[in-house]
Symmetry: C2
Subunit: 123 residues, 2 copies
């Protein structure tokens, strides 16, 4: 009773939460996961649907997600080349939390916009 401030956990390097936050803390990770979603996407699809991402960043993000076991990559040895990306089972399971985030964003977008305006006005 009356016990407060007892930390739930310490977010150090080995904490799975911290690793998670670092993963989605990669600028393009959430976008890539979200855009692939349940679909199959080609490299160029991703580039088009995530404006502002460079080839370098897109490739880097995809490789990282592949290594984490969230994304699978299938290359067809044809010319011109064709590469397909999709989420693995584990990748699909992360879609729910990511989508929850996205839903939140949509729900609160006007509120957020107001705050941003207020802030911009001040400077």
């Amino acid at each position: 009773m009356g016990k407060v401030h007892e930390p739930l956990c310490i977010l150090d390097e080995n904490c799975p939460l911290r690793q998670m936050f670092d993963l989605v803390g990669d600028r393009w990770t959430s976008s890539v996961l979200f855009v692939i979603g349940e679909d199959v996407k080609r490299y160029s699809d991703l580039q088009r649907q995530i404006p502002g991402v460079s080839k370098k960043m897109l490739t880097q993000t995809l490789r990282r997600l592949e290594q984490a076991g969230l994304v699978s990559r299938k290359v067809y040895p044809v010319v011109p080349p064709r590469t397909e990306y999709r989420l693995t089972a584990m990748g699909k399971s992360i879609l729910q939390p990511v989508t929850a985030l996205a839903d939140w964003a949509v729900k609160h977008q006007s509120e957020l916009k107001v705050m941003r305006k207020k802030h911009d006005a001040k400077e």
Copy 2:
């Protein structure tokens, strides 16, 4: 029928999803939100519970969250100073998605560890 690949949305600068992903894409944002949680935290509490964050980064993250309307800051004009941080109503509402992410991380931590081992072994 047979219609595929129609993008759900384009994640450009004005897209609320993109703004959300950019927000949690800040390295310390999720950690700070998660650690404050339903509690009241002092600056030094946060520093202690998020090892690795520097004053600079912590302050920057807190200011950003304040401006976004997710965190409120209360300064007591006493000496030594005392500052309290807590989540606003909107801030608390984002806790659910963030917690969903955290839960996912805990649930899949062993799977993720295996993938990391596999990858480390290859180089």
